[in-house]
């Protein structure tokens, strides 16, 4: 049971998830559904970045692959949308594995370099084969509606779908991270050479971690397509990939529950927190809070501040508050605490 994560924390999360639609409006519930799907994506990326120590700047594109898998299956082949969710993950995971084989064979910055090209290459391929992908126009999915004989508001239906998936993926992430493979991932993160010397196949671990993270992102992307009911090449820009990485750092790389905060950030920074922060400044200085690019500046600055002030992210801060005062604490075992983002 321990491998599935802390049962109390999980129970609290489940209760909060059940309570939320009764408390918030349908619109907020719809937004919270996106928090659930971002949580799935961030869990995947955290397995790669937080636990295996590999930066990826391209996982937004794996969400895109999941989303396009769902869309093409639903629109062109008439499959029911919710059944395509695991397929979106599997397709993204397989492509991720194939990409990971060459890219993860080498230590150092090569993976981040190669992944940076994925979002732009993905958009290029979408535009090149319009018969298959819908080209620049993209494709429209059917309106969001409740299914399986249940009649409720579409927002609530979508919320339930997203969070059911998220609450399955969270324990799954714990199983991956806590087991033998999880130990291998952390050893690769902490010292690739030492891991190799102890018989860990570093390239294999990195490739598999890449595939797993792509699978999680594919599932999230599939949900995303169902939620916004359309896909086109602009739906998954490079900004999304970077935003996911920011979410990881903010939530605290190497902590799975921290990703909850990361997911909240990713969903709300653009629509309410970013402008709110800017509003704060605009009292001092006259700033147009709806100016293009202002949101990007805000989350770039937030990222920098987190790197300086709280490199372990929200999870690190929470641990600091909950734990004993720093001077009483033993020096933590580095292999169990946070990864190299210090």
């Amino acid at each position: 049971m321990k491998r599935l994560g802390n049962p109390i924390a999980f129970g609290v999360l489940v209760l909060a998830v059940i309570a939320a639609p009764f408390i918030f409006s349908n619109y907020r519930t719809y937004q919270l559904a996106f928090v659930g799907l971002y949580l799935v994506a961030l869990l995947g990326l955290d397995i790669l970045t937080g636990f295996t120590g590999q930066i990826s700047l391209g996982h937004g594109a794996f969400m895109g692959i999941g989303a396009y898998t769902t869309t093409i299956l639903v629109v062109d082949h008439g499959v029911r949308d919710i059944w395509t969710i695991p397929l979106g993950g599997v397709v993204a995971g397989i492509i991720g594995l194939a990409f990971g084989i060459p890219a993860t064979r080498f230590a150092g910055p090569y993976l981040a370099l190669a992944t940076f090209a994925i979002p732009l290459a993905f958009i290029g391929i979408l535009k090149r084969y319009p018969d298959f992908t819908g080209g620049n126009v993209g494709k429209n999915l059917p309106q969001l509606h409740s299914q399986l004989g249940w009649h409720t508001n579409p927002s609530i239906w979508f919320y339930v779908v997203c969070w059911v998936v998220a609450l399955v993926m969270l324990p799954l992430a714990f199983v991956i991270v806590r087991g033998r493979f999880g130990r291998a991932m952390r050893s690769v993160r902490d010292s690739e050479i030492a891991a190799a010397a102890n018989g860990v196949s570093t390239a294999g671990v990195k490739t598999l971690a890449f595939g797993i993270s792509a699978f999680f992102c594919g599932v999230a992307g599939s949900l995303y397509a169902i939620g916004i009911t359309y896909v086109n090449p602009d739906t998954f820009p490079i900004d999304l990939s970077i935003l996911l990485l920011v979410g990881i750092v903010l939530g605290g790389a190497g902590s799975l529950y921290g990703m909850l905060f990361g997911a909240l950030f990713v969903e709300f920074i653009r629509i309410s927190w970013g402008p709110a922060l800017l509003n704060l400044f605009s009292r001092v200085h006259h700033i147009d809070t709806h100016a293009p690019g202002s949101g990007l500046v805000v989350y770039g600055v937030v990222l920098l501040l987190v790197l300086y002030a709280a490199p372990a992210g929200a999870a690190g801060l929470a641990r600091g508050l909950a734990g004993r005062p720093a001077f009483l604490r033993r020096k933590e075992d580095p292999s169990l605490s946070d990864p190299g983002l210090v």
């Binding site: 120590g53 930066i55 700047l57 990409f99 060459p102 890219a103 064979r105 080498f106 230590a107 150092g108 910055p109 090569y110 981040a112 370099l113 190669a114 940076f116 090209a117 994925i118 732009l120 290459a121 290029g124 391929i125 535009k127 090149r128 010292s191 050479i193 030492a194 010397a197 490079i238 900004d239 970077i242 990485l245 920011v246 750092v249 100016a291 293009p292 690019g293 202002s294 949101g295 990007l296 500046v297 805000v298 989350y299 770039g300 600055v301 990222l303 920098l304 790197l307 300086y308 490199p311 990864p339 190299g340 983002l341 210090v342």
Partner: protein, 294 residues
């Protein structure tokens, strides 16, 4: 045969731009083992400054070109001292994340200050072309190639023949020993960032007339530069230029002679080349194989 030579010159011109940005990446990577993901956005931002200096891009002015190089140099050094230096003792992962933060901030700032709309950027060279033996060589291609190569040559002379250049090479090769010899390593890193930013500015100002000026203008160029740098071996300045030129020629040749490769597939093809190089010859064409230890 004419098409072949025309494709070749266009390829060399494109390649020189990729090469100069790749060289900027290599300069910083060699000194700090950090890939500067903001390199492209720094180039884009300084190109906007040049555009503003030129009266919002009405005509190309050489004084503005050189003023921009100066601004880029100071700006690059300042970024290193203010943003990157405090993270000197942090892990490489953190430093890389900081450059990603810079990327986001510069991209947002450019859109904020100058609007995300497409802007026209003037070219210093006429649109006409020379005809040599039936082959049209565009003056723009030749000029771009010439300007970039001149900058690279100046940089090489600096590193090869000045005392400061020697100190910088020493600092990159062995920071600890260089410090003991009285080299102020941190300032030299700032200098390295300055040179890289100026080099990036050159590539930005040379590519802007053909792709038009937008905040996202350098994203694709940066990826070509990554591919060029990896092709040449991430630690080799000569390799960066050679990698850039061969990538430029290769991509243009593929676009011209291999039918399914359209402009949309240029980037995926570059990504493919990058992956193949990593698989077949991970040290690149000019890199050394490094033995790693704990």
């Amino acid at each position: 045969m004419q098409t072949f030579f025309q494709t070749l010159t266009t390829g060399l011109s494109d390649g020189s731009i990729y090469g100069s940005l790749a060289l900027a990446l290599v300069l910083i990577y060699k000194a700090t083992e950090v890939i500067n993901f903001a390199q492209g956005e720094m180039a884009m931002f300084t190109t906007y400054i040049a555009w503003a200096l030129m009266g919002h891009g009405s005509t190309f002015e050489w004084w503005a070109f050189f003023a921009t190089l100066g601004i880029a140099f100071v700006g690059g050094a300042a970024l290193q001292q203010t943003v990157i230096r405090p993270l000197e003792r942090a892990s490489v992962l953190t430093a890389v994340m900081a450059t990603i933060a810079l990327l986001v901030i510069l991209n947002g700032l450019a859109a904020w200050i100058w609007s995300p709309q497409l802007q026209f950027f003037p070219s210093p060279f006429p649109t006409s072309s020379w005809v040599i033996g039936g082959v049209h060589i565009s003056k723009q291609d030749a000029g771009t190639f010439g300007v970039v190569m001149a900058c690279v040559l100046i940089l090489w002379l600096f590193f090869r023949f000045t005392k400061l250049g020697l100190a910088m090479r020493a600092g990159a090769l062995n920071p600890g020993a260089a410090r003991l010899m009285g080299v102020r390593a941190s300032w030299l890193l700032a200098l390295g960032w300055g040179f890289a930013a100026a080099l990036g500015a050159v590539s930005g100002m040379m590519v802007a007339p053909t792709v038009f000026l937008t905040p996202n203008m350098m994203q694709a160029v940066l990826i070509y530069a990554f591919a060029a740098a990896i092709l040449g071996g991430l630690e080799s300045p000569v390799g960066a230029i050679a990698g850039g030129l061969s990538l430029g020629v290769l991509l243009n040749m593929l676009g011209e002679y291999v039918h399914p490769v359209t402009t949309e597939l240029r980037l995926p093809v570059a990504l493919g080349i990058l992956l193949v190089v990593l698989l077949v010859k991970p040290a690149g064409l000019f890199g050394r194989v490094v033995v790693r230890r704990v």
